[in-house]
Symmetry: C2
Subunit: 328 residues, 2 copies
C-alpha cells in the first residue's frame, strides 16, 4: 500500500478500489451494503453525503454552491427519493473574498428554494491560507421515497436504457477552462434532477436511475454491468453529445463517455414503457435531449459494449487514471 | 466586506458573525432557527453536520478519525438525541499515506462500534497535492430523541451549571504540539458523550446540554447567556482544570476558558437535581471530574461573570481572534 494518487479521485476504477478498502474498515458498522449512492435509514428516510472541491469555483452554467446542492440532492432523486433537507459544511481558506463565499451561499440557497428543500444544519470553518484551495463544501441530504426506492437490483435483461440529456457537458466545461480553451456556447449541465425525474419515481416500469457524475456515463454503465452481473449494449450513434463537447474531446483527447455530467441521469426501464418515459422526460426543459441509448443483455456478463458509428463493437471500461482532478 | 480571516474560524465572536451572514443567504429555506447545533427534521429524527480539519491528524488521546465521529455525534448527544447513523465525507490530499487514511477510518469505525452507530453513506475524493493539507473529514449524523429534545430555551434563572470533565484538554494538547512543548500526561479529552449523558436525556430536571468545542467553555457560556437573555455566574475555583492544561496556559498565555474541549459537556439543570446529576455523571469513567461551576441569574442579562479566585468578578467573553486554527 503506498501513497494516495489522483487516479483514486477520478470516480473510476482506482476510486472504486480505494473506497472498497476504506469501507472495509467499517465492515461491522456499515449498513450501506449495496452499490447505490444513498441509504434508507428508516422506511421513511434516506441519506447521502457528497464533498465538493470543484476548481474553478465559478464556471459557465454554475458554481460550487449550485453544484453542491444539485449533486447532493441528485443522489436521492435518482433513487426516486424526494429531497427534503440538506446540511452544509463549509471549509474556507483564509483570504477568500467574503462576498464570494456569500454569493456561493446564495446560489446554493436558490437551488434549495426551487426544490423546496430546507437547510437543516450547517458548519463553517476557516483554515489557514494554503491548507485548502479556496473552498470545499460538503452536503449531506435527507429525503423521503415516493414509492419503493429504485435501484440496480431491479434491472433485468431486456431492459432499455436512456440518458436524460446530452453527456459530458460538465466535464468538458471544466476541462476547457483548465486548458484555456474558449468554446463558445459550452456550459455545464449542472442542474437538480428531481423536478425532471419525479414523475418516473412512481412509474412501475422504471427499474433504476443513476446520475452520471465523476467518471461520466461510461463509469455508470460499468457500475451497473458489474453490480448486476448483466451485460450492457449501447449504440454510439444514439448517444446525445453536443458539438461543443465533441470539439473539446477532439482537442484534448478525452472520451466523452468518461466526462463528468452534473445534471444527466441514466435510466433503466421496461421496454414496454419506452415511449412514455421518453415523452415524460422531453416534456421538461432539462430533458429535451432525452434519448434511449441501449439495452441490458444476458450476453457478455458484467461488460459494457458499444456499437460504434463505424459498425464495430468496442468495450467500454471505467477510466483508470485521472482525467481532470477536482471536477466536482 | 473583506477577505476571510482566521479569527472567523475560531468558534468565537467573529465566527458567529460570519455564520450569521452566511445563514442569512438561506433565510427562506433555513429551518435551523434556534442556536442549537442540531435540528429535528421530523418528530423522530435530528441531524447535524461538522467538518474536521485538525492538525496534526494524530494527537495524544485521538486522531482525526476518532475526533470526527465523537464531534459529529456529540452535537446530537447533548440534545438528548441518541446517535444512530453517521455519513462520512473524505477529502484527502494526493500523496497521503494510504495506510494512514485507513487507520483513521478504523479509529472512526471503532467509535461507531462503541456507540452502536451505523455508517449510512460515504464519499471519498482525492485532490491534487497542495490543495488540501492532508485530510479533511466531514460527518453528518442522524439520531432519535429519547424524550423531548433538550435546548437552551428551557433554561431558567436559578438553574445550576456543571461541566462533565476538566476543561481545555483538547485545545491544550493541540497547542502544546504546535508550539513544541512536551507536556507529560497531557492528552485530548476527545470522547463520545452519549454513553455519559444518556441517563440525563430523560431526567426532567435537565434543561440543556452543550459540548464545549471550538471556543471552549467560555464561548458556550456566552452563547447561552446571549441566547437566553439571562445572566450566568461561575466560580473560577470550582472549574476543574488539570495541572497540565494550566501549565500550557501559563506558558502560551491562553485562557483555559477559551481552550477547546472535545469530550466535555456543559449542563444546565434544576438546582433540586444537582446531587443526583453529579452522582450519575461521576459514576461514568468520562465523568469522574464532573463538577457544578455556577448558576443562571436574572441580573446582568446576556452576560457571563466569573468570580475569580482573588474574590473579584470578571466578565467572560468569547475569544475575538484566533487562538489556534485547525483545532478540530
Amino acid at each position: 500500500m503506498g501513497k494516495l494518487n489522483l487516479g483514486q479521485g477520478s470516480g473510476g476504477r482506482l476510486t472504486s478500489e480505494l473506497i472498497g478498502k476504506f469501507k472495509a474498515q467499517f465492515d461491522d458498522v456499515n449498513v450501506q451494503r449495496d452499490l447505490e449512492d444513498c441509504t434508507m435509514i428508516s422506511p421513511e428516510w434516506a441519506v447521502t453525503i457528497d464533498g465538493f472541491t470543484v476548481s474553478p469555483m465559478d464556471f459557465p452554467g454554475g458554481n460550487i454552491g449550485k453544484l453542491a446542492i444539485c449533486g447532493g440532492t441528485n443522489d436521492l432523486a435518482v433513487r426516486g427519493i424526494e429531497p427534503k433537507f440538506v446540511t452544509l459544511s463549509v471549509i474556507a481558506e483564509e483570504g477568500l473574498d467574503e462576498e464570494e463565499l456569500l454569493r456561493y451561499g446564495r446560489s446554493a440557497a436558490s437551488v434549495c428554494h426551487g426544490l423546496e428543500v430546507k437547510l437543516a444544519a450547517g458548519d463553517t470553518k476557516v483554515v489557514p491560507k494554503g491548507t485548502v484551495d479556496g473552498l470545499f463544501l460538503t452536503v449531506a441530504s435527507m429525503g423521503q421515497p415516493l414509492g419503493k426506492p429504485l435501484g440496480m437490483d431491479h434491472i433485468k435483461p431486456g431492459d432499455r436504457l436512456a440518458v436524460t440529456t446530452s453527456i459530458g457537458r460538465h466535464g468538458a466545461t471544466i476541462g476547457s477552462i483548465r486548458f484555456d480553451l474558449n468554446v463558445e456556447g459550452l456550459s455545464s449541465d449542472c442542474a437538480p434532477l428531481w423536478p425532471l425525474v419525479k414523475p418516473l419515481a412512481v412509474l412501475p416500469g422504471v427499474r433504476a436511475m443513476r446520475d452520471c457524475t465523476r467518471g461520466g456515463l461510461g463509469t455508470t454503465l460499468c457500475e451497473w454491468a458489474e453490480g448486476t452481473g448483466l451485460g450492457i449494449e449501447i449504440d454510439e450513434s444514439s448517444i446525445p453529445i453536443d458539438e461543443e463537447v465533441s470539439s473539446v474531446c477532439d482537442i484534448l483527447g478525452f472520451d466523452p463517455l468518461h466526462l463528468a455530467c452534473e445534471g444527466c441521469a441514466l435510466i433503466a426501464y421496461s421496454p414496454d414503457d419506452e415511449d412514455r418515459i421518453i415523452e415524460i422526460l422531453r416534456a421538461h426543459p432539462s430533458g429535451i435531449q432525452a434519448t434511449s441509448i441501449g439495452t441490458v443483455v444476458e450476453g457478455h456478463p458484467s461488460m459494457v459494449g458499444m456499437r460504434t458509428k463505424a459498425g464495430g463493437m468496442r468495450v467500454v471500461d471505467m477510466p483508470v487514471g485521472e482525467l481532470l482532478p477536482r471536477i466536482c
